[in-house]
């Protein structure tokens, strides 16, 4: 298997799907000639031409709205929103149009739209360019929310997302683009809504996704040195959530810690923890614990930004606390 970066894996997924299916088209700010703010679409304009890879005006509402229209009329658009923080502008299009239209028209149309965007802290870009807003989208029935943590997952999940007939928020992480991982040469897809046990263990289940997943795996290594066996589960898709896989793990370890970068209050960890309690109350030997971002606008200062999201040390400490150590 080859080792490629996360951005390259996404780029390959787009290229492969565009090659496989002529109805797959790309739209977004600076994605064509420039190749994308994080260079994810580089080379695609040259390969597939300006008809299928289009730069748009700086209007997120227009991008999502055009994507919806294209999806309704037979294309399989993949639109890029440069920063998830800008989704606020497109929120009416997403929440009231994209997510509702198939339902409101009695299923007579499909919305095969993928909204690619990226979020997260780590580049000291401040309060407008560093947020983790996945919980907003988890609150919208009618869409699916995918957050891959590895190149392998990113490629396989994006290919599935493009083939999916329902709208998908595909949220990448700006700090993951240059991380590397093994990706098969041959074609593969990963089903949406299926979690992945990234590491097996017996003492505690750590549920983490996106960049926090990598930190959780680092923490699990640290915990192993102290004789604590942590199982790390990556939901990969937050909506729908594969609670069965998570619950199976929790029934084995009896303890759970969720780790995410989004603000703690009303965040993804709260939803995951509650679903665990609903399923596994009698299997829990300790209260579920959420480790998440601080309830603050993301600070610009590098030291404060680092403090605002869970670090590997935080995960080690909280996991031990759950175990009463």
């Amino acid at each position: 298997m080859k080792e490629i970066t996360y951005w390259k894996a996404i780029n390959e997924a787009l290229a492969e799907e565009m090659t496989r299916d002529e109805s797959v088209v790309l739209m977004g700010e600076d994605i064509a000639v420039y190749g994308g703010a994080y260079a994810v679409t580089r080379g695609l304009y040259e390969k597939f031409g300006g008809e299928r890879v289009r730069d748009t005006a700086i209007s997120e509402a227009a991008i999502v709205g055009a994507g919806l229209g294209a999806a309704l009329t037979g294309l399989r658009p993949v639109v890029e929103i440069m920063y998830v923080d800008f989704m606020g502008i497109a929120m009416d299009q997403l929440n009231n149009q994209v997510a509702k239209i198939r339902y409101m028209f009695g299923g007579k149309c499909t919305v095969p739209l993928v909204i690619r965007t990226e979020g997260g802290a780590g580049r000291t870009l401040g309060a407008h360019h560093s947020q983790s807003l996945e919980a907003w989208f988890m609150h919208i029935p009618g869409i699916k929310v995918v957050m891959p943590s590895t190149p392998y997952d990113a490629k396989g999940l994006l290919k599935s997302a493009i083939r999916e007939d329902n709208p998908i928020m595909f949220i990448e992480h700006k700090m993951l683009y240059n991380t590397k991982g093994a990706v098969p040469e041959e074609e593969y897809t990963i089903p949406i809504g299926v979690a992945d046990v990234k590491r097996t263990g017996t003492d505690i289940t750590i549920v983490a996704y996106s960049r926090s997943l990598l930190r959780s795996l680092e923490a699990a290594k640290e915990l192993e040195k102290e004789g604590i066996s942590a199982e790390v589960v990556d939901p990969r898709t937050l909506l729908p959530l594969d609670i069965d896989t998570i619950a199976t793990s929790v029934r084995k370890t009896h303890r759970v810690l969720t780790v995410s970068e989004d603000c703690k209050t009303g965040g993804a960890g709260a939803e995951i923890s509650m679903q665990i309690i609903e399923r596994c109350f009698d299997d829990l030997d300790a209260p579920p614990v959420r480790l998440a971002g601080a309830d603050v606008p993301m600070p610009k200062a590098p030291n404060l930004e680092a403090m605002a999201i869970p670090s590997t040390e935080d995960i080690v400490r909280e996991a031990k606390a759950v175990l009463g150590k």
Binding site: H254, F281, D282, D283, L284, D285, A286, A321, G324
Partner: protein, 406 residues
């Protein structure tokens, strides 16, 4: 009228008591002077009488709960429909089922309540993880018998013992270990004796006492006293002998506290009495000034009180020396731990027929082995030896015990 029932302060050092029994139920009629509830302190159990007549209402104190002195544990009301004080005024926490009539909560009371809740864990509630509860139910283990090792004392799965088929010794009827917190009295014993053994440099002196003469004296005495219903035990004679020896060697009749050694010239001897729940030490006061018969009467009364759980803190206060006697068992000799701040304790073994050499000839005599444990900070070996020799002489020549009696 509403009369609050409070946790009484039964001794100067008492700060909290465990409510061990209600003699009346919620709503039951109570007559002033009737036993109302029982309190157990670290020393003993005490029955408390109703201080007013009426109906027992608004019971807050739960059996098993440890409550600070002067806190309200319930009320005696003249009538069943009289309004009880607001729950927030009752200085007790954490009980949902109090029968107090609660009007709309006042903001200040509502704000104060959670804080109180967090400081006092109601003893009736068991903190256990859901998994621990499930396992305990499956294994038939009583959660209240377990001690929690989790955060805040929560019982977690690891605290629930394996039993039956899951047990490593499957097939054999095994009884799982039972854990429970030390009772008040055992906690006191643990703290005092651990402190004693760890901080007091004990030294031990042993001697064997020939009881050949005192055995017939005791028999004769008891025959004469039978009509009066008095029976003198060996222990009574030992108390008297120790009291006289202490009078002559008051250095052993001393209390050492904070580097201050207080020598006492009145002798108050504590006698260790073993009860199921632990050891108590009632004190025979002025044992040096009392004759053997008075000691016998008092000793018997105190021991009966101890077994009935009716010793008062005063009965157990003020000892200057302690005697621990295992003579009723076949214990030949043992060493006792000093009961601080006292500086000495005598450990009495059983009286055994022993072959001894008397002037080259073999004879069989009743012998009692005794051990003196002494605090080397207060007394030295030679002084302890002199005291012990005096004690031995008094018992071996028992007429001395009766001087002034006739």
């Amino acid at each position: 009228m509403i009369h609050p029932i409070i946790m009484p302060k039964l001794g100067e050092t008492m700060e909290e008591g465990t409510l061990t029994k209600w003699f009346k139920k919620e709503g039951e009629k109570v007559v002033k002077g009737e036993p109302l509830f029982e309190v157990t302190t670290d020393k003993a159990s005490f029955e408390q009488e109703a201080t007013a007549s009426g109906f027992l209402r608004g019971v807050i104190g739960q059996v098993g709960q440890t409550i600070r002195v002067t806190e309200t544990i319930g009320y005696i009301a003249d009538a069943m429909d009289e309004k009880l004080p607001d729950a927030a005024d009752a200085r007790s926490e954490g009980h949902g089922q109090t029968a107090v009539a609660t009007p709309a909560p006042r903001p200040s009371a509502a704000a104060a309540e959670p804080q109180r809740m967090s400081t006092v864990v109601p003893s009736g509630r068991v903190k256990a993880s859901p998994l621990a509860r499930k396992l305990a139910a499956q294994r038939g283990v009583d959660l209240t018998s377990l001690r929690g090792s989790g955060p805040g004392g929560r019982i977690v799965a690891a605290d629930v013992p394996l039993v039956g088929a899951e047990s490593p010794a499957a097939g054999r009827a095994s009884r799982s270990p039972e854990s429970k917190p030390l009772s008040g009295i055992r906690k006191t014993i643990a703290a005092r004796l651990a402190h004693s053994k760890q901080t007091i440099p004990h030294f031990y002196l042993q001697t064997a006492i020939n009881m050949q003469r005192i055995v017939p004296v005791r028999e004769h005495l008891n025959a004469k006293l039978a009509a009066k219903g008095v029976k003198v035990t060996f222990n009574d004679l030992i108390v008297k002998a120790a009291a006289l020896a202490l009078e002559r060697y008051p250095g052993m009749n001393a209390l050492l506290e904070d580097d201050v050694l207080t020598t006492h010239y009145d002798v108050h001897i504590g006698i260790a009495v073993s009860l199921e729940e632990g050891l108590v030490v009632p004190v025979i006061r002025h044992a040096n000034r009392k004759d053997v018969v008075a000691i016998a009467r008092e000793s018997r009364a105190l021991i009966e009180k101890a077994h009935a759980g009716r010793l008062t803190p005063d009965d157990m206060a003020g000892g200057t020396f302690t005697i621990s006697n295992l003579g009723m068992f076949a214990i030949e000799s043992f060493q006792a731990i000093i009961n601080p701040p006292q500086v000495g304790i005598l450990a009495i073994g059983t009286v055994t027929e022993t072959v001894v050499s008397v002037g080259g000839a073999m004879d069989s005599v009743p012998v009692m082995k005794v051990n003196l444990s002494a605090d080397h900070r207060a007394v030295d070996g030679a002084y302890g030896a002199k005291f012990l020799m005096e004690f031995k002489d008094l018992l071996e020549n028992p007429y001395q015990l009766f001087a002034g009696m006739l």
